[in-house]
C-alpha cells in the first residue's frame, strides 16, 4: 500500500475504531471500597470493610459490553475492633490464617467474565472471585450504575455499587462456623475517572 492510500485507509478506520474501543476507567481508591457483612451468633450483622482496593472498569456502550476487575488488599480489613489488651483484636484475627490469611494470600480478586446490560446500563457482572487462593464463579448484581459527564477540569466519572452473596466455606474459610455465619454478603462500591 502506498503512503497516500494508507493514510486514507487509516482515516476511514479511525471513527470505527473509536466507536468500538471500550472506554477505560481506573477505580479511585478513595471512592472504591469493598464491604462485607456476616451473621454474628444469629443476633446481628457484623460489617467489615477493606480499606485498600484497586481496579479497572471498561465500558463499550455501543457493544453493550464491559469488564470489571477489582483487587482487594486482604490485610486492609477493618471491623473497627480496637486492639485488645494482651490479646489480639478481631481485625488481627481476621488477618490471621483463621480467616483471610493475609500473610499467605495478600490479595483477593474479582475478575469479570461477562457483563449483562439493560439498555445502556450494566445490571449483572459474572466473574470469578479468588479468595485464599481458591477461584470460584460469582455474579455481582449491579444495584446502581451511573456516569457523570466530563465538566471543566473533571473527567467523565462512572460508578455504582454491586452486591453478591457467597459461602465462605466454599473458599476454605471455615473458622467459627457455628457462631459466625457461612454466608457472606459482599458489596463493592466503585467510582472511576475515564482515562
Amino acid at each position: 500500500m502506498k503512503h497516500r492510500s494508507m493514510v486514507i485507509a487509516l482515516a476511514f478506520a479511525a471513527p470505527l475504531a473509536a466507536q468500538a474501543a471500550p472506554e477505560t476507567y481506573r477505580l479511585d481508591p478513595r471512592h472504591t471500597f469493598t464491604y462485607f457483612s456476616v451473621e454474628h451468633f444469629g443476633l446481628s450483622n457484623q460489617y467489615g470493610r477493606f480499606d485498600r482496593n484497586a481496579g479497572r472498569l471498561t465500558l463499550d456502550r455501543a457493544a453493550h459490553a464491559a469488564t470489571l476487575d477489582v483487587t482487594v488488599d486482604a490485610g486492609s480489613v477493618t471491623t473497627a475492633d480496637p486492639p485488645a489488651a494482651g490479646g489480639r483484636s478481631r481485625d488481627d484475627m481476621l488477618r490471621s490464617s483463621d480467616f483471610f490469611n493475609a500473610a499467605e494470600f495478600s490479595q483477593a480478586t474479582f475478575k469479570s467474565t461477562r457483563v449483562a446490560f439493560s439498555g445502556d446500563t450494566p445490571t449483572a457482572v459474572e466473574g470469578n472471585l479468588t479468595l485464599l487462593g481458591t477461584t470460584r464463579p460469582l455474579t455481582l448484581h449491579v444495584d446502581r450504575f451511573k456516569c457523570n459527564a466530563a465538566q471543566g477540569p473533571r473527567k467523565e466519572r462512572c460508578g455504582g455499587n454491586a452486591t453478591a452473596a457467597f459461602k465462605r466455606s466454599d473458599f476454605g474459610m471455615k473458622f467459627g462456623m457455628g457462631s459466625i455465619g457461612d454466608e457472606v454478603t459482599l458489596m463493592i462500591v466503585f467510582e472511576g475517572d475515564k482515562e
Binding site: 444469629g42 443476633l43 460489617y47 473497627a80 451511573k146 457523570n148 455504582g160
Partner: protein, 196 residues
C-alpha cells in the same frame, strides 16, 4: 404494721416488682456500630462508620415498653480514606472538621428514645431525639431484626439486632457541599448488648 405483716407484704410485692422491672442491657462497643450512608455525586453511596458507640437499652417485655440511649463519639468517624496523598487532609479529617461533624465543639452525638413500639415480644419502632451539632430533632428508628440469646455458661443473656433510620443533615445545620454530597443520610445501627 408489725414485723410479720411487713415480711408478708414484701413477699407478696416481690413477684409483681420482678415482673414489672425492665431488664437493662449495655451495648458491647466491639459489636455495636453506628453506620451511615450518603449519596456521592449521584453516582455511589459513601459508607461511614463511627468506631466508638456506647449506650444502654431497657426492655420490659410484659409491659411492651423500652428505652434506648446511645452516645456516639463523632471523632471516631471512619470512611476508610486512610491515605492523605497530596491533599491538605484526608476525608475523615475533613469530616471531623467544622465543615461537617465539628468534633472539637460537639464531640458527641446522642440518641434518646421517647417511645418504643413492639411487634410481639420484640421492639419494632423507636421514636426519639437525635442531638447532632447541638441541634435536637426527632428521628425514628425501625428495628429490622432483634433477637436475644439466653445466658449459657459464663455468658449473660445477649440481645442484638439492626436498626435503621433516616434524616436530612441540613436539619441539623450540616449544610456543606449539599450539591455534591446528598442531604439524606441513612443510618444503620448494628448492635449487640449484654444483660446487666
Amino acid at each position: 404494721m408489725d414485723r410479720k405483716q411487713l415480711v408478708i407484704a414484701c413477699l407478696a410485692a416481690l413477684p409483681l416488682a420482678a415482673a414489672a422491672a425492665p431488664e437493662s442491657y449495655t451495648f458491647d462497643s466491639t459489636d455495636t456500630f453506628a453506620n451511615f450512608v450518603v449519596d456521592h455525586f449521584g453516582i455511589t453511596p459513601i459508607y461511614g462508620r463511627f468506631n466508638r458507640t456506647t449506650g444502654k437499652f431497657t426492655l420490659d417485655r410484659a409491659a411492651k415498653s423500652g428505652s434506648l440511649d446511645v452516645t456516639v463519639d463523632v471523632a471516631s468517624v471512619d470512611t476508610g480514606d486512610i491515605d492523605k496523598g497530596n491533599r491538605p487532609r484526608a476525608r475523615d479529617d475533613h469530616l471531623r472538621s467544622a465543615d461537617f461533624f465539628n468534633a472539637a465543639e460537639f464531640p458527641r452525638m446522642t440518641y434518646k428514645s421517647t417511645a418504643v413500639t413492639f411487634a410481639g415480644d420484640a421492639p419494632k419502632t423507636i421514636e426519639g431525639n437525635l442531638t447532632l451539632l447541638g441541634v435536637t430533632k426527632p428521628v425514628s428508628l425501625d428495628v429490622e431484626r432483634f433477637k436475644c440469646n439466653p445466658p449459657s455458661g459464663t455468658s449473660k443473656e445477649r440481645c442484638g439486632g439492626l436498626a435503621r433510620g433516616k434524616l436530612n443533615r441540613s436539619d441539623f445545620g450540616m449544610n456543606r457541599t449539599l450539591g455534591a454530597i446528598g442531604n439524606e443520610i441513612q443510618l444503620l445501627v448494628a448492635f449487640g448488648a449484654d444483660h446487666d
